[in-house]
Amino acid sequence: MAETDRTFFDYLVYVSENHSPLDFMLVADHIDKFFYGTLLTIEITLLALLIGGVMAIPLAIARAYRHRWWNGPIFGFTYFFRGTPLLVQTYLVYYGLAQFDFVRESFLWGPILSSPWWCALITFSLNTAAYTTEFLRGAIENTAKGEIEAARACGMSPARMMRRIVLPSAFRRALPAYSNEVIFMLHSSVVLSTITLQDILGVGRWLNGRYYLAYEGFITAMLFYMALVFIISRGFRIWEQHWLGHLRARTTVEG
């Protein structure tokens, strides 16, 4: 009697709980949390890349042309952020700053430094700015001599040459390295879950904490990260075809 009363849904729940290696019905119940987590992961990663990327352009130019005053401090900045783990940097900003009374009493505490979201965004932006500065500097330094001579011969001012010739060319050549930086940043964003933010991993850890099911939470989180990386690398491939098309081997059409 009881057997026949059971609906197909009850049956699915039963199989999922007792016979499946992964309790997929439990994951399905909480899948909305994973989507919210994905939004947070994307939000902070994208904003940090945007802020860090914009910061990196003047910093990279100053580094590439060995600016008398700025080169040293900028090198110190990139050396520090590239030489230490992001997790430690985030802890330093989130837990470290909170220790000092003058920080907690400052006007920055209420709106910004007390919020894990802002602490993460600041640290991530500085971190990605440091990496982007260095490889953009490399790309600027490697601009072909001929391009610069041609620009000068046309009578371009240094500022116009930078805007019209050097930067566009450097951006194109830095693009493959930048796609790595974007994926690294996405992977590093798991640090968010250590300062109470419910990003994708945060939701996985929540599920583990609530139901003591480690596989369910972490495998689901992994699938979400894989999907994001797939989208990012696809996007960059299209972008590279568009921007670096002139570097591809030419195919000739047989007449």
Partner: protein, 258 residues
């Protein structure tokens, strides 16, 4: 004569290595946390101290086995036990139905209630309505995570890896309140300098479904012999007065509970 004994010992050792089964002489690997004073904490020199650690040592002594303390971050405790990284968890883990689906427990070795902690002049009370929209901190994968989600659904939940991080953020003013074991809250925060200006908010949490029936040692489900041996040892320690000595070293009240 001496040599013969040594040879025999060597053979016995080899046999134990080859068969690899747990005999009385094997060390007992105990999973502990080390970030939950006064039950367990880490000294500057790296040694572990606390009520749970004393309890582990006493249990190993009575089992006549050497103790190997294995430190494990809290939210990986149960997976690590199942992966056989250690044989038992002695880390103030509450006995709950949800956990019993995965692992087994001894009888309880202490039972203290959970309570909210907030600023003294918090301006809200410890009810679901009072905590609505407030930022509530709990340690991840604890009974308090379960209770917080159930009893205070309107609160904005912040999950931490260790209880010490919860105290840090409460003291820093990032949290409006936190939920944890009342005894740990008193000894590990309210009695310290950092906890001045804070106090318990409301009465003890009444939620047996989430909070369980006290803390026990956890073992894998198949290790019933170990579970029964450990349960008996807890009852013996309680009966012969050793419990009182250990209890009084850390606490002013008897934490065994009713």
């Amino acid at each position: 004569m001496m040599k013969k004994k040594l040879t025999l010992l060597g053979l016995a050792g080899l046999l134990a290595l080859v068969t690899g089964t747990a005999t009385a002489g094997d060390p007992l690997r105990v999973g502990v946390e080390g970030a939950y004073p006064p039950f367990s904490w880490k000294e500057a020199d790296g040694s572990l101290k606390g009520f749970d650690i004393d309890m582990s040592m006493e249990v190993c002594k009575r089992l006549n086995r050497e103790c190997v303390l294995v430190e494990q971050e809290w939210d990986g405790m149960i997976p690590a036990l199942l992966a056989k990284k250690f044989d038992t968890i002695i880390a103030s883990m509450s006995i709950t139905e949800e956990r019993k689906k995965k692992i087994d427990f001894t009888v309880k070795y202490y039972n203290t209630p959970a309570k909210l902690v907030a600023k003294k002049d918090a301006g809200f009370d410890g009810t679901a309505a009072g905590l609505n929209g407030k930022r509530l901190g709990v340690q991840r994968a604890t009974t308090h995570q379960c209770s917080a989600e159930k009893l205070f659904p309107g609160a904005e939940l912040a999950l931490y890896a260790t209880q010490e991080e919860v105290w840090q953020d409460l003291a820093a003013g990032r949290l409006d309140a936190q939920l944890s074991d009342s005894l740990q809250a008193y000894e590990g925060f309210l009695a310290l300098d950092a906890g001045q200006g804070f106090d318990f908010l409301g009465d003890a949490i009444d939620d047996i479904e989430c909070q369980g029936v006290g803390a026990g040692f956890a073992v894998r489900k198949e290790d019933t012999a170990l579970r029964d041996a450990l349960s008996q040892i807890i009852l013996d320690i309680r009966a012969d007065g050793t419990y009182k000595t250990m209890n009084d070293k850390y606490f002013a009240v008897d934490i065994y509970g009713n």
